[in-house]
Structure formats: C-alpha cells, structure tokens
Symmetry: C2
Subunit: 241 residues, 2 copies
C-alpha cells in the first residue's frame, strides 16, 4: 500500500493500514514512496502521472512555489508535455482536482438512509475519509492549500466545494428541509474548517484523536445543523447584543 494509487473516481478512498492517523500534516512526510513500474505509460498514464506529481508538489510546497518545470521533473516528462496537456499551472490545478478523484461523486453512492443520524454519519465519514487516508490526504491538502493560497485558484476551490456540498445535500433527505441550501453551506464550512484544523494545521486535541472519536464528535453537531431542529437565533434575541 505504499505505491501511488490511481483513485477510484466513484467511491471513498480505501482504508490503508498506516493511513488511519493524522500523525503528520506534511505532505513530504506522508508522501507514499513511488514504486516505479517500469512500464512506458501511454498518453493517459502520462497525464495521470503529471496530475499526481502536481498534487504532491502543491500539497508539499504550496501552489505558488510549484513550477511547471518542477511538476515535469517529478513526473519525469518534458515540461512541454505539461503545457501541451494543460496549458498553464492553473490548468494543471483545475485538471488535478477534477480528475484524480471526486469527493462529489462519492456521495452519489449514498445509501438511501432516511434518519438524520445515519445521514449525517454518512456525510461526515465520506468527507473525512478523503482526509484520513494517506492515499488521498495529500490531494485534499493540495486542493485546500492551493485554493486558499491564491485568489486566482479560489474560484476553482469554490466550485469544487459547491459541487460537493450540492452532491451530498441532494443525495440526502436534507434537501427537503427548510433553508436546505443555507444549512448545507453552513455544514460545509463546518466540515472544511474541522478538516483544516485536524489535518493541515494539526491543532490539538483534534489532530491526535482516533478517527472514530473525531467522527463521534462531529456527527451530532452536523445532524443538528442539517436538520430543521436547530433554527437560527430569532431576531428578538438580538436585544442582548
């Protein structure tokens, strides 16, 4: 399980034995060693290799400091090929976060559970699985690091988050609740903020919790946020301000 994997585009990442702890936020530390296969990849293999190299570099050194040249070097291809496939660095970023794996698509398989608790559990487990497992954590880190680092890439991250939010919101019974769009956006911010705390910034005690314990903390709050049980504070309460 230490070689690079091609991500399944329709399901959450597989569990890997050593990937179950958020022991380190550094992409460099957690980057799986590459087992070079020796095959001469065709166009599609080369394209994937470039995107994977790009994500590793974006996660590790950030978007701005990653050059087309560095990506090409890591992928062992000519820089001209990177330009040929993707145009510029923003094109690489866009393609990388859209093709390597899809958080949104993983919600398509959401089972038709119709109780708040199990739906919130499914959403939290699916989303955080991408962060928890070594094989996709670096890509999630790359996406958020790059998307937040730079106003030019913020648009791409915004679209991804909106798509992902819509995907799980539509797949669940929450879409029928009052203020479903608002609740989904608030829940999405909640999830993303916790992921950044635990996996990127490694704030304690979140970073060292077991995955199951972390999910247990998140689910009840997510459930209330998405259901209609928790209403916004009523205007008359603002007198205390």
């Amino acid at each position: 399980m230490t070689s690079r994997q091609t991500f399944d585009s329709t399901s959450a990442p597989r569990k890997s034995g050593s990937g179950g702890r958020a022991a380190s936020a550094s992409a460099k530390d957690t980057r799986p060693r590459r087992a070079r296969s020796g095959r001469r990849p065709g166009d599609s293999g080369t394209r994937e290799q470039i995107l994977e190299s790009a994500l590793h570099l974006f996660a590790d050194r950030g978007y701005a400091r990653t050059t087309i040249r560095a990506i090409a070097e890591d992928a062992e291809v000519d820089p001209a090929l990177v330009h040929h496939f993707f145009g510029n660095k923003e094109g690489v970023f866009d393609a990388a976060i859209n093709s390597s794996f899809s958080v949104s698509a993983s919600f398509d398989n959401m089972p038709g559970t119709r109780t708040d608790a199990s739906e919130a559990t499914w959403i939290a487990q699916t989303y955080f699985s991408f962060w928890e497992h070594e094989s996709t954590r670096y890509a999630m880190t790359a996406i958020y690091r790059a998307g937040l680092a730079d106003s030019a890439t913020s648009d791409i991250l915004r679209e991804r988050i909106e798509a992902s939010t819509k995907a799980w919101s539509q797949a669940s019974g929450y879409r029928e609740r009052p203020d479903a769009t608002t609740r989904a956006a608030l829940a999405s911010g909640h999830l993303a903020g916790l992921a950044l705390m635990r996996y990127v910034l490694q704030i304690q005690p979140l970073a060292s919790m077991d995955f199951a314990e972390f999910i247990d903390w998140v689910v009840p709050a997510l459930e209330l946020r998405l259901s209609a049980t928790l209403e916004p504070r009523r205007p008359h309460d603002t007198a205390a301000d």
Copy 2:
C-alpha cells in the same frame, strides 16, 4: 474611514460604514486607499508601515509570491530595513500577525455574561467582526491564506488559533464544562471554516447574507457545541456504520 488605521490591539475592530458587507474577497478591491500623511515616521511608524504593507500583499497575492522587495517597495523603505527589523519573510509574517492587532486580546474584554446564548453570541460577534470590517478583513485574509498556503507558516497560524481559542475559552464560562478543550477546538474549527467560506471563498448564500443574519445562523450551533448539552455520539450508535 478610507485611510489605513492603526489597529487597536485590545478591542474588536470599529464598525465602518462601507465595511459591513462581504461584497468582495479580493484584498486588492477592498484595500483602503492610503492617505499618506507626509510625516517622516520614526522607527516605530516605519515598522508598522512595513507590517501593514506585508499584510496587504500577503492577502492580495499570497505569501509565496510576496517578496521582501515588494514589501519594501509598498512601504516605501529600503529592503535592507525590512531585513534589519524582521530577518526574513517568515519573520515579517510572524511579526505582522502578532503585532498589528490581536484577536486573542479582544476576548480579554469579554463581559462576564454567564448564559450560553450571550457567551456564544459574544464569541461569534467578536471573531467574525475581524473578518467583517474592511479595516481588518485583509489582515485576517492574509493570515489564513499565508498560514494555509505553506507548511512553513502553518506553525505560526496554529499558534495564533490556539491562543485565540484559549483566550475566548478562558474568558467564558465554557472552560468549566466537560471536555472544554475539545469543545473549544471543535468550535474554533467551526468558526474558521465558516469565515473561509464567507469571506475568502465567498460561497453562497453565506457570502451575501447580512452580518446579523449570518451571526444568527452561527450562534445556536456554536452554543450547543460549547455547552455540555450536545454530547458526542455514543459508541453504541456506531453499529449503523
């Protein structure tokens, strides 16, 4: 209110007439025009000017693409002076986020309210005020963009968030609740995630909500998260997984 302000280090930012909307995430767009005072600043004025220029540039173009030279140029000083004061770029970042204003310190003035609703309201309003007001939004954006962009600056952001979390947690009655540290960290992730969604990525409908409406949505969830009312999911519930 369009000239740069020296931030009050002990209180939340003042309201400014035009700063009450999250109309644009771009630091460039919202950057107040500088009214050059014509005075020859002393050491302390120069130092402040450098830090303010640095935050504007970090917010606008990101940490990695901001050079010492660009900071010096914006502040109208010699680059050698920037090195003299702060050593390197990381030193500028560290000083900028620690001296310009203090989110943590603003919680020292937390009134001794002892009801969950008013404490959660205070925390949410104080924290989000720094994002909401034009005069400090760019600095908050800079801190998060830079802190998340780069593993080298993540440490500085982590320390800031931990300090800020501790400050409001200690200033409130929440410190006496079970699992206070865990709850505070979870709440902190919640707040930071929502700020990134609304102010940096501008995800709808959060970005276009009135500040009061946004706070009204946040407070009940924050209150539950911090109080002992909302417990983690019990182990026996995990059978559904």
